[in-house]
Subunit: 393 residues, 2 copies
């Protein structure tokens, strides 16, 4: 069985054929979260913002707040959203805003390690870990912190450390807990929880997370990656103050236009409850069903299975439908290479501290791209690779 | 002679008295560039931008550009503006966009020092230097670069260095050239030109600057500090690529909302030529005249004098009217303390690598704040300090 019927359902035969005709190049599936664009387009003017020439000129936003550059409307919208979804405790927490959660990850490292000692503190995360953590930790060769790889193989006797817990985990979608602090929480261990994907479209919401530092980002929550808005919920005032200081020194705050727009977008997500997340959940569920069907048919790849859990938000038992698929090649030693031969760009397992037989592909691309990805993937058959020439024939 | 007549000219007696009544606190003069807000307000809808919910969602902007997250409309607006003002050569240069020029300063340090050697490269700037350079250079204790103070006292035999040339200089408004490369340009010396204030409202435009790395920022050009938009004009492709990589690792790009708005704002500045800069020049000139009058009358302070030069942009001979006043206390050893006693918040000379008898105050504050600053400054008299109670009496 071929996949044409699936494509046609979404974009029609002629459109699809035209796209394929023009795309001899690699299909990038590297994480640009365009899947939800159609939802926002349908809203029309409801989510439009208007900014006049004299608005938002000052550096300052709220001098009474630890995070003095945080626009109050955004702080309120973030709080409301966490109340609606109940995925994290935000009451009594400091909100620190960042240029994406990327800047906040580094702000958290700074806050937990400065002023620093004679040796940089070790930063670890359980493999497979987000492929950007190593580079984001080490590119400035900081004397405060250094990347130390897989948390599972880290020797706690080495002293102080920061463990990054990414849950649901990028790349493999698993629900994570701290590895090093599991049995006996060490006084020397500090935690950063990267909860970018802990939203109802990706995973069952099983409770309100309540950790010292929790990172979120608009990119993954609503798909607005171009706005570069992330936020951290922070328990300790001194940590929040240091994170704020980091962002002050790095960029003197965060775009107010983006903050204002994020406030509008998150406000609509909360007010229009549960429409956006329902839309996202259905879309992700459909895509995962299609992917699993292709995978079953080809027999070449493996995919993680996720447990059925009760989601407090939807009131239903549901699986995870992560933003990335973590493909395991059953026959080939190099999954990235195998995919590339069929013009699918993926990120190989080694980048995530894992084996090369794994590779990560995005489940959040635009519909046309996702369909081409499925089509090309379906052309990879056990033993030999078909040349995809059946298309259009 | 008191200053009441100046205040009244701008805001009226009652408004001023009400403000003074409510402001027992310190007047901050630390650099929020609100002086031009009135200009933008007068434009009404002409500079308004409208962004719908589905706009600007992708991380990507222009994959054909080295700086792949730079919005093409902004690149065009920046180029046009430099053509109109002719303050810098932009043709054939790469434009790298940043979250303020603060992020670009660090991107430039990274580009000029990575992958790095056994020792961090020295970063220097002639004193008095911008007070944030030391902290922005050292807060992460990078192994790539380290702050090494005043360029005038740096020993070139120490090897490789990066000299930051800030012209017109913050805090003292002087026109600067590289100190270390003056006679014989060392192959080991690299330059960053921070030209944030090289615009016609502040200083005569005497030629199109043409250096390896030139930094500009919307904050000082048009007053839109809240947008956090800076740009670099970069000669070398590899340097531009590394700067882009730094911003990718630090924040995966720059707010698209801010970029789009900056494109609109800079477009109006170019199209409406020379209205904005004329407005700014007159305003700065008036403020400097008032400040010099107060300074002359009090006899307590000194101020730098600036040479009359021909400005290519206005076609007139004009002085500099810098964004900051660099006050020298003639009688007191601690200028910051002297000002603080009269409830004026200033940044003391030590922070700039200079003597404590100097202090920096902003010339770009909102009109009400600037007027209160002048009023309080005029209360500081040689030998003794009046208590300012004459106000309202």
């Amino acid at each position: 069985m071929r996949l044409e019927h699936i494509h046609f359902k979404f974009i029609g035969k002629h459109t699809f054929a035209r796209i394929m005709h023009h795309s001899h190049s690699l299909i990038p599936t590297s994480g640009d979260p365009m899947a939800f664009e159609a939802f926002w387009r349908k809203l029309g003017d409801k989510c439009t913002i208007v900014i006049s020439g004299s608005d938002l000129m000052s550096y300052l936003s709220d001098m009474g707040n630890v995070c003095w550059f945080l626009v109050p409307e955004l702080a309120e919208a973030i709080n409301n959203l966490h109340h609606v979804v109940d995925n994290a405790v935000s009451d009594g927490r400091h909100i620190v805003i960042g240029t994406g959660s990327t800047q906040l990850y580094q702000a958290a490292l700074y806050a937990l390690s400065s002023p620093g000692g004679p040796e940089p503190i070790s930063v670890v995360s359980a493999a497979p870990y987000y492929s950007q953590y190593p580079a984001e930790t080490d590119y400035l060769r900081s004397g405060l912190y250094k990347w130390d790889g897989d948390a599972n193989t880290f020797d706690k006797n080495n002293g102080a450390y920061i463990e990054v817990v990414n849950s649901p985990n990028n790349p493999d979608g698993t629900i994570r807990e701290a590895v090093l602090a599991k049995v006996n929480r060490s006084a020397e261990g500090k935690l950063i929880h990267d909860l970018a994907y802990y939203w109802p479209q990706y995973t069952p919401i099983t409770g309100a997370a309540d950790h010292d530092i929790m990172l979120f980002t608009l990119s993954k929550c609503t798909g607005h990656a171009g706005s570069r808005i992330g936020w951290a919920l922070v328990k300790d005032t001194e940590v929040a103050r240091k994170m704020t200081r980091f962002i002050e020194l790095g960029s003197i705050g965060v775009s107010k236009e983006s903050q204002l727009r994020a406030a509008k977008i998150l406000g609509i997500v909360s007010d229009d409850y549960p429409n956006f997340f329902e839309y996202g959940r259905r879309l992700m569920s459909e895509r995962w069903n299609m992917l699993r069907q292709v995978i079953r048919q080809s027999g070449v790849f493996g995919l993680p299975e996720y447990p059925l859990e009760y989601c407090n938000f939807t009131g239903k038992f549901t699986n995870s439908h992560p933003g990335f698929a973590w493909l395991e090649s059953k026959e080939d030693e190099d999954c990235e290479k195998l995919l590339r031969a069929e013009r699918i760009m993926a990120r190989g397992g080694r980048r995530f501290g894992a084996d090369a037989k794994y590779a990560r592909v995005s489940m959040l691309s635009r519909e046309e791209i996702f369909n081409i990805f499925l089509e090309r993937l379906s052309a990879i058959q056990g033993g030999s690779i078909s040349n995809g020439k059946h298309l259009g024939s």
